[in-house]
Amino acid sequence: MPLRVYLTEIALFCTFDSRLPMLFNSFEYLIFLPSVVVLYFTLPVKWRWLLLLFASYFFYMCWKAEYAILILFTTLVDYFVALKMGREPSRKKKKRWLVMSILVNLGMLAGFKYLNFFSESVNALMQITNSGYSFPLYHILLPVGISFYIFQSLSYTIDVYRGIQPPEKHFGKFALYVSFFPQLVAGPIERSTSLLPQINAPRPFNQQNLISGLKLILWGFFKKLVIADRLGMFVGLVYENPGEFNGLPVILATMLFAFQLYCDFSGYTDIARGSARIMGYELMINFNRPLIATSLRDFWNRWHISLTTWFRDYLLYSLPYIRDKKIIQSKIYRNLVITFLLMGLWHGAAWTFIIFGLFHGLMLVVESLAEKPVGRFHELTGINHHPGIIKALGIAYMFIMVVFSLFFFRANSLENSLILLKEAFDFSNTAESLKAMLRNLEFVFGILMVILLLVAEHFHAKYNLVKVIAARPVFVRWTVYIGFIFFVLLFGVLHQQKFIYFQF
C-alpha cells in the first residue's frame, strides 16, 4: 500500500491538478522545498540558477501549466526592452522602449484582470442610459500572482531606464528574477537591485541561514494555520451570508478579518522569506507590526511594504507636483489620492477595492491636513505630556479606520458591503449573539491566539525573542522548538486554505 501511495502521489503530482496552485501549507510543498534545497546545494554553483528556474516554473505550472507562458512572455519582453535601453544613448529612445514595456505589461494585466470589470461597469452604465449596446464578457481565469510578477518585472525596466540597474545580460538569471518561486505568487515584490545581485553571486550553504529560515517558516505556519485559517471560519460565515448577522458579530468579524488578513499574508511572507533564506537569498521585509501603527500613514509604512514602496517609487514620485519650481501642496494630495486609488484597484477588479483605495487616499489627506490642529489640541489639553495616551488613541484611530475600510475589502460585492455596514449598527440580539460566539470554541481559541501573537510580537520587538531563546541551553531551546512545531500541528487548521492574496 505505501509504495502504491507514493507512486500515485508522484503520478498525480506530475499530471498537475488545476484546482490549486502549490500552496506553502500543503504536503507537496513540504516535499518540494527540501528536495529543491538539497539539489541546490549539491549542484555546482554555475548550474544552480537553472535548477531554481526549473523549480520555479514547475511550482507555478502545478496550477495551470499553460499560464506559465504569460510569465515567459513578460520575461522575454522586459529582457529585450532592458537590453535595448542599455544600448540606447538617447533618453528619448530609451523612453520609447520603457513605454513599450509598460504598455505590454499593463495591457496583459488589464486583459486578464480588468477587462470583465470594465465591460460590466460600462454595460451597467449603458443599461441606465438605455443605449442598447453591451460589451461582451469573457470567461477568463485570473492567473495566480499576475499582479505580483508583472510589478516585479516592471520595476526592473523602470530601474534600467533610470540608470539604477544595469541590464541583465543572462536571460536565464533574469527569468529566475521574475519567477523565483518563494515570492512568485504573492510577493514580496522584489527589486532588481536587491534580488538580481543575489542571483548572480554564489550562495554557499550556511547553517545559520538554514536554522533561521526554518524558524521563520515555522512562525509563518503558526500565523497562517493556527490564526488566519481559524479566524477565517468565523469571518467567512458572516461575510458569505450578509443580512444573516447583525451588530456585534458583524463588527467582530470585520475586526478579526484585520487579524486574519495580517496573519494570512504576513504568514505567507514569512514562509516565502524563510524558504529563500535557507538557500541564501534575503527577501525584503513586507510587514512591520502594522496593527499597532498610530496613524494611517504609519499603517501604510508597515503594511505590504513591498507594494507601498513600489507605488511610492514608481508612481507617486513620478506624478507632477511642481509648477514654476514651486511645490504645490494640493497636487501632492491629488497624487496621493490617485496612488491609493490605483493601489486599491491593484488588489482586485471591483468597486469595493476602488472604494477601499479611495478611502485610504482621502483619509491620508485628511490626516495630513489635521496634523497641526491635532498637535495644538494635544498641547491645549496637556495630552502631549502623556505619550502613552497619544499612542493608544492613535492605535485606536488607525484600527477603526482600517476596520471600516475592510468592510469593502472583504465583502463579495458593493451591495454586500453596504448591507453589512448597515447591519453592523443594529445591536438587537447582542447578548444572545455574544453568548453564541463565546460558546464557539474555535472563535474563543482564535481570539486567544491573536492575543498570544500580539504579546509575542511585542516582546520580540523589545527583546528579540529569537536571540533570547537561542541564548538558552540546548535542552530549553529544543523543547521550545519541538513544542512549537507540535503545537502548530495539533492546533493548526489543516484544510489547505488558499492564501487570501493569491486572488490578487
Partner: protein, 323 residues
C-alpha cells in the same frame, strides 16, 4: 557542514520523529471517535445473527437496532457516501457477511460538496479507504495528505477531538451500544431552544453550499455503491431521516430538493436492487420535542421513527412477496 552540526541536525530530526510517533499512537488509542468506531467494528465482527438490515451513513442515521430486528447500525460520525462505499466494500469482500438490505442515508445534506470534502477521523478510515483510488477519482492530489494524516499524523489539526477525548474519557467506558446503535442523545431538547431558526441556519450552512446540490464525487460513489450492491445482490433502501421544520426550511433556502431527489431517483432506478426512497423528513415537523438539535432525533424520536420504518419495511416486503 561540520560533523558535529550534522549529528545535531540528525538528533533533532530523530526527536521530532519520536515525539510524532508518541503523539500519533496516543491519539489513535485515546481518541473518542476512534474508540467508538473501533467498538462498532468489534460489535460487527462479533455479530452472528442473520444480518437483514445494514444501516450506513452519518449521525442523522438513528435506526434503533433494538427495535428493528436483525439490523446493524454501522453509521459513524460525519460519514459520507465515499466512506460508506469503502466500508461496504470491506464488509462484502472481507468479512463474509452479507446483508439483505443496505439502508443508505438520503438527506439533502448527504449530497453536497461540503459533505463530500469532509474527511475526518482518517486514523480510523485508513483501514477502509483506498486513498490513491479516491485521489484519482476526485482528481485531487490533496486527498493523499489525508492518507498521511491517517497513517502518521492522526493528531494533526484534531485538537477538538483531543479535547473531547479528555472530557469523555470516563463517560465513554460506560456508553451503551447495541449493534452499533447508541441511545445517548438526551441531555438537551430542541423544543427548549429559544432561537430555533438560528440554530437551524447554523447547521444548514455547515452542510450545504448554495447552488450546488449534488457533488460529482458523491454522485460517482453513489453509483459505485449501487453497482457493488447489484453485483452482490443486496437490496438498497434510501432513507430521508426526520428533521425539524426549522432545519428543513433553511435547507430548502439553499438547495432545490425536488431537483436533487429526482436526479437521485433517476440514478438509483437504473439498478434493480434499488427498492425505493423512504421519505420521513417531515413526519415530526410539529414535534420539536423529539429532537436533540435541529437535525438529530433524540432517543424517543429515534424509537418512534424506527417503529414506523420497521412497519414500512414489513409493508414493502409483503408487497414484494405479493409481486
Amino acid at each position: 557542514m561540520k560533523g558535529k552540526s550534522i549529528k545535531r541536525i540528525l538528533l533533532f530530526a530523530a526527536l521530532i520523529v519520536l515525539v510524532n510517533i508518541a503523539l500519533d499512537l496516543s491519539f489513535k488509542a485515546f481518541s473518542v471517535h476512534n474508540i467508538l468506531n473501533r467498538r462498532m467494528d468489534e460489535q460487527f465482527a462479533a455479530y452472528n445473527d442473520t444480518l437483514k438490515y445494514l444501516a450506513l451513513g452519518n449521525s442523522h442515521n438513528c435506526i434503533n437496532t433494538l427495535i428493528l430486528e436483525n439490523s446493524f447500525n454501522y453509521g459513524s460520525p460525519s460519514e459520507n457516501y465515499i466512506q460508506s462505499y469503502y466500508k461496504l466494500k470491506h464488509i462484502l469482500e472481507k468479512t463474509g457477511k452479507k446483508p439483505e438490505y443496505v439502508i443508505l442515508q438520503a438527506d439533502i445534506s448527504t449530497y453536497g460538496p461540503k459533505i463530500a470534502d469532509r474527511y475526518e477521523y482518517n486514523s480510523y478510515w485508513i483501514d477502509y479507504i483506498d486513498y490513491p483510488e479516491l485521489a484519482r477519482i476526485k482528481g485531487d492530489r490533496t486527498i493523499l495528505t489525508k492518507w498521511l494524516e491517517g497513517r502518521f499524523f492522526s493528531y494533526a489539526g484534531n485538537y477538538k477531538d483531543v479535547q473531547l477525548s479528555i472530557l469523555y474519557r470516563i463517560k465513554i467506558k460506560t456508553l451503551e451500544m447495541h449493534n452499533g446503535y447508541r441511545p445517548h442523545r438526551d441531555y438537551k431538547n430542541f423544543a427548549d431552544e429559544t432561537n430555533k431558526r438560528k440554530l437551524a441556519w447554523d447547521k444548514a450552512n455547515l452542510f450545504l453550499t448554495k447552488g450546488v446540490y449534488l457533488d460529482n464525487s458523491i454522485k460517482i460513489y453513489f453509483e459505485k455503491i449501487l453497482q457493488l450492491c447489484q453485483a452482490n445482490k443486496v437490496s438498497v433502501i434510501l432513507v430521508r431521516y426526520p428533521m425539524t421544520k426549522e432545519f428543513n426550511d433553511e435547507e430548502m433556502k439553499i438547495v432545490p430538493a425536488d431537483k436533487l431527489f429526482s436526479e437521485i431517483e433517476s440514478i438509483a432506478s437504473r439498478y434493480p436492487v434499488y427498492k425505493g426512497l423512504f421519505d420521513y423528513h417531515s413526519i415530526f415537523f410539529s414535534h420539536p420535542e423529539y429532537f436533540f438539535d435541529p437535525d438529530h432525533l433524540n432517543i424517543k424520536g429515534s424509537d418512534l421513527f424506527t417503529r414506523q420504518f420497521a412497519r414500512d419495511m414489513e409493508n414493502l416486503e409483503s408487497g414484494l412477496s405479493a409481486e
